[in-house]
Amino acid sequence: MNGLAGQLPNIGVALPEMFVFTMACVILLVDLYAVRRARFVPFVLTLLTLVGAAVLTLGEFGAEPVTAFNGMFVDDMLSDTVKLVIYALAFLVFLYSRDYALDRGLLRGEYLVLGLFGVLGMMVMASAGHFLTVYLGLELLALSQYTLVAFDRDSPQASEAAMKYFVLGALASGMLLYGMSMLYGATGSLDIATVRQAVVSIGSDNLILVFGLVFVVVGVAFKVGAAPFHMWIPDVYHGAPTSVTLYVGTAPKLAAFALIIRLLVGGLEDLSAYWSDMLIILAVLSMAIGNLSAIVQSNIKRMLAYSTIAHMGYFLLGILTATPNGYGASLFYVIVYGFMSLAGFGMVILLSHRGFEAERLEDFKGLNRRSRWQALVMLVIMFSMAGVPPTLGFFAKLSVIQALIEVGLVWLAVVAVLFAVVGAFYYLRVVKLMYFDEPGTKHEVTAGVDMRVALAANGLALVLLLPWVGAILDLCTEAVRALG
C-alpha cells in the first residue's frame, strides 16, 4: 500500500472493512451453491471472516492514529480495540446461534450476510471521523438488525418486534440526523475534528449548537437503550428469536459506545457541561426503570432486556464524568457487559432446543439438579451482572463508581449503589430458581459440545480473568487516551 500512497487515497487503513464486505458478498454467492454436504460452508466462512478481520486489525494495532478518505475514516487505538471486541462477540454470537438457528430454519445465507453487514456497520461507526460516516455505519447496523429481528417470518411476535424497532429506530435516526444538521448549521462542517475546533471558537452559549446537541443525545440515547428512550428494548429482545436477541444485545453496545465517544467526546467535548447533565438524567432514569421493571418480569428475555437498560445507565455514568478515566471505565464496563450479556442469552439458547423456547424464568428451575455445570456458569453470570465480587462485573461497577467520585459526584454514586442493591434481587431470583427449587421439567440440555465449552469458558472467564483485570482496564484507558 505504501507504494501507491501518492496515487490513491490512503484506503489501506480500511482493509478490515473491505475484507468483511468482500467476504459477505462471497458468502452470499457461496450460499447459493452450497449443496447438502457443503451446507456448513457459509457458516464456517462467516467465522473465518471474523477471524481474518481480527488478524488484519491486530496487524495495525497500537500504531499512531491514521485518517483516510479525507478524514472521514479514522484508525486509532480506540477503533481497533472496539473492533476487536466486536469481532470476538460476533464470533461467539454466531457460534452460540448455530444449533438454535438451524432448528428453526433461520440459518440461511442471508442471516449470516446480514449479521456480517451489521458487523461492518459497527466497524464503520467505530472508525468514524465524520458525521455522515457515523450515520452510514449506524444505518447499516440498524437496517441489518431490523431485518434480522424479522427473520423468522412465521413468528408474529418477531414481526411485531421488528415493526416496533423499525419505526422507533427510524424516528431516532431522524432525530440524530436533525441534530447533526443543526450542528452543521452552527459550525459549518460535518467533519468531527473540524466541528470540535469550531465549537471551541463559537463558544457553548450558541442556541443552535445546544439544540443540535439535544437532538443528537436523544438519537444516541435511543440507540444505547437509555430510559426514557428504552421502549423498544423489552419488545425487541422478547419478540426476536433468541439468537437475534443475542446479536442485538451484545456487539451493538460496543458500537453505541463508539458512537457516543466519537460524537460527544470527539466532536462536542466542549459542550460537556450540557451533555453531562443530560446524561445524568438519562442514567438515573435508566437505572431506576431498568432495575425496578426487571423485578416483575416472568420472562427471562424481558428480564434481561430491562437489566440491559439498567446496565446502560451504569455505563452512561462513566461517560458523564467527562474525564479520560471515566471514558476508560465506560469502555471497560461495556466490554464486560458485552461478554456477560453474551453468556446470559447464550444460556437461554442453551436451554432451548427444537420446539421449546426456554423463555420463562421457571425453565431455569432446578437447573442445579439437571445440569450442574451450566447452573454454575449461570450463577457466575448472574452474580457478575449484579456486580458482586469476585467477578468482572464488580470491577466494571467499581471503575465507574470510582470515576464518579473522582469528579465529586458522590450523591450519584450512592444512587447507583442503591439501585444496584435493588437490581441484585432479580439476579438472585434466577440463582434461587436454579439452586433452591426442584426441577419442573425433565428437559435435557441438548446442545453441541463446542457451544457448551465456549459458553462455559465465556461464563467462567468472568471470574477466572480476575488477575488480568488490571491489564484490561489499562488497555481501555490507553485506548481512550488516543482520542486526546
Binding site: V388, L398, Q402, V421, L428, K432, L473
Partner: protein, 494 residues
C-alpha cells in the same frame, strides 16, 4: 522457601482451589471421595495456618507475613496481605472451625455433598482473605465474595423458610457493603490515589467527612455484627441454615463485622469514633440487655442461641468503644471465645435436630437420661455461654466489665446484667431440655453422641476449658496490636 514467603496466599487459595476440586468430583455418586477430599483440604489449610502462630512475633504491632503485588494498576489496587495480633487468632479460629464443620456434616448432609463441602471450603478461603487483606478493594472483594457461598448454603440445605432467610441475608448485607464501597472509593480519592489501608490510618480528615465515613462503615459492619436495630436478619438466617452454616455464621462471620470496626472505624475515623462512642455504647447495651430478654422467651433452641449471639456481640462492640486496653482485649477475647462457644452450641442443637428433627424446647426434656455424654458437653458449653470462670466465656466478659468500669460505672452495671440475664436464658433452656423426667417417646429413643459428634464437641470443650484456664497466649498475642490500635484511635485527625 516459596511457601514461607507466601504463606498467607497459600492459606487463602488452598481451600478455594481445594473447594473447586471437590466440586469437580461430581454428583452424589462420588460423595465419599468428596467428603474425604474436603477433610484433607480443610486439614491442610489448618496445618498451613499453624505456623502463622508459631512464627508470630507478639512483640510488635507491625503487619507480619506480608506480601504485596500490584493487581489493577489503573485503579492502584494491590494484592497485599498481612496479619497482626488481631487477625491471627481469627484466622486460626476460621481454619479450625472449618475442619470441625466438615467433620460435623459428614453423615448429616446426603444431598449434593460435593457442593456443600466446596461451598464451605471456598468460603473459608475468602474469610481468611478478609482477615488478612491490607488493601481496601481486596478486603471488599473477599468480604462480598463470601456472601455467595453463604447464600447458597442457607438456600439449598436450610430449613423450611430458607429462601426468605437467604435472600434477606444477602440483600441486607449487600446494601451495607455497597455503602462501605462508596466510602472506600471516597478515601481513595482523598488520599491521592491509594487503596492501602495503612495510608488511610494517617490520612487527615475533617469532622463531617469523618462522621459520614463512620456511618458508611457502620452500615456495613453493624449489619454483619449484628447490632441492634439491624439484627433482624440473623435469627432467620441462623434458624434456617443447616448446622454447619449456623456454626460458621455465628462463629466467624459475625466476628468479621467486629473486625471491620477495628480495622476501619477506629483507626480511620478516630474523632468520629469518639464523638459517636455514646451512640455505639447505647446500641451495644440495648443489644446486651434487650436482646437477652428476647432470648428468654424463645421456644426454638436455635433462635435462642442466635439472640444470645447478638447479645454477646453487643459486649464486643461495647468493649471497642470504651477505648481502653482491657475493654479492647476483653472484646477480642470474647470474639474468640464466642466463636468456640456458639459454634459448639449450634453443633449441640444440630446433634439433637439430627435425631428428632425438632428444635423446639417443648419437644425435649430429660435428655440427660438417654444422652449423658452429650448432656455433659452441652452443660459445659452452656456454662461457657453464661461466663462461668474457668471457661473461655469468663475471660472476655470480665475484662470488658473491668474496662467499662474505667469508663463509667453505669456502663459496667448495665453490661454486668448480662451475667444474670445470660444465665437466665441459657440455664433455663438447658434445664428444660436436659434435666427433668424423660418427656416423651421421642426423647426416650435418643442415642448418645456418636464418636464423630463426641470428637467434634470434645475438641471444642478442650479449647473452651483451655482458654478459660490459660488465656495468656491469646492475650499476649493481642497486646501489642491492641495498644497500637488504641494509639491510632486516640490520635485526633482534625
Amino acid at each position: 522457601m516459596f511457601i514461607d514467603a507466601h504463606i498467607l496466599s497459600f492459606a487463602i487459595w488452598t481451600p478455594v482451589i481445594g473447594g473447586l476440586l471437590v466440586l469437580a468430583t461430581g454428583g452424589d455418586r462420588y460423595a465419599r471421595q468428596a467428603r474425604w477430599l474436603s477433610l484433607a483440604v480443610s486439614l491442610a489449610t489448618f496445618v498451613i495456618t499453624v505456623p502463622l502462630y508459631l512464627r508470630f512475633d507478639a512483640g510488635t504491632a507491625a503487619m507480619q507475613f506480608g506480601e504485596s503485588r500490584p493487581w489493577v494498576e489503573a485503579l492502584d489496587i494491590h494484592y497485599s496481605l498481612g496479619i497482626d495480633g488481631i487477625s491471627l487468632p481469627l484466622i486460626l479460629l476460621t481454619s479450625f472451625l472449618t475442619v470441625l464443620v466438615v467433620i460435623a456434616g459428614w453423615k448429616v448432609i446426603e444431598d449434593r455433598v460435593a457442593q456443600y463441602m466446596a461451598a464451605f471450603l471456598i468460603m473459608e478461603g475468602f474469610m481468611i482473605g478478609v482477615f488478612s487483606a491490607l488493601d481496601a478493594i481486596l478486603f471488599y472483594v473477599f468480604w462480598e465474595g463470601m456472601l455467595i457461598p453463604m447464600f447458597l448454603i442457607i438456600g439449598i440445605w436450610g430449613g423450611a423458610n430458607r429462601i426468605y432467610a437467604s435472600i434477606k441475608f444477602f440483600l441486607y448485607t449487600l446494601l451495607g457493603s455497597l455503602l462501605m464501597l462508596v466510602a472506600l472509593i471516597y478515601l481513595y480519592n482523598q488520599s491521592g490515589g491509594s487503596f492501602a489501608l495503612a495510608d488511610y490510618h494517617s490520612l487527615p480528615l475533617a469532622m463531617t467527612p469523618q462522621i459520614l465515613l463512620f456511618l458508611a462503615f457502620f452500615a456495613a459492619f453493624a449489619v454483619k455484627v449484628p447490632m441492634f436495630p439491624v439484627h433482624t436478619w440473623l435469627p432467620d438466617a441462623h434458624v434456617e441454615a443447616p448446622t454447619g452454616g449456623s456454626v460458621i455464621l455465628a462463629a466467624v462471620m459475625l466476628k468479621m463485622g467486629a473486625y471491620g470496626f477495628l480495622r476501619f472505624n477506629l483507626p480511620i475515623t478516630p474523632d468520629a469514633s469518639h464523638a459517636l462512642a455514646g451512640f455505639m455504647i447505647t446500641l451495644s447495651l440495648i443489644a446486651v440487655i434487650y436482646i437477652a430478654l428476647v432470648a428468654l422467651v424463645q421456644e426454638d433452641m436455635k433462635k435462642l442461641i442466635a439472640y444470645s449471639s447478638i447479645s454477646h456481640m453487643g459486649f464486643v462492640t461495647l468493649g471497642f468503644f470504651i477505648f481502653n486496653t482491657q475493654g479492647m482485649e476483653g472484646a477480642i477475647a470474647q470474639m474468640i471465645s464466642h466463636g468456640f462457644v456458639s459454634g459448639a452450641l449450634f453443633l449441640c442443637v444440630g446433634v439433637l435436630y439430627d435425631r428428632l428433627h425438632s428444635r423446639r424446647i417443648a419437644d425435649y426434656g430429660g435428655v440427660a437420661h438417654r444422652m449423658p455424654v452429650f448432656a455433659s458437653l452441652l452443660m459445659l458449653f452452656a456454662m461457657a455461654n453464661v461466663g462461668l470462670p474457668a471457661t473461655s466465656g469468663f475471660v472476655g466478659e470480665f475484662l470488658v466489665i473491668l474496662g467499662a468500669f474505667q469508663a463509667s460505672f453505669w456502663y459496667a452495671l448495665l453490661a454486668g446484667t448480662t451475667l444474670v440475664l445470660g444465665a437466665a436464658y441459657t440455664l433455663w433452656m438447658v434445664k428444660r431440655v436436659i434435666f427433668g423426667k424423660v418427656a416423651n417417646d421421642g426423647v426416650a429413643s435418643l442415642s448418645d453422641a456418636t464418636p464423630r459428634e463426641a470428637l467434634v464437641l470434645g475438641l471444642l470443650a478442650v479449647l473452651v476449658l483451655g482458654m478459660g484456664v490459660w488465656p495468656a497466649p491469646l492475650l499476649e498475642t493481642l497486646h501489642a496490636s491492641v495498644e497500637n490500635l488504641l494509639a491510632l484511635a486516640s490520635a485526633s485527625k482534625l
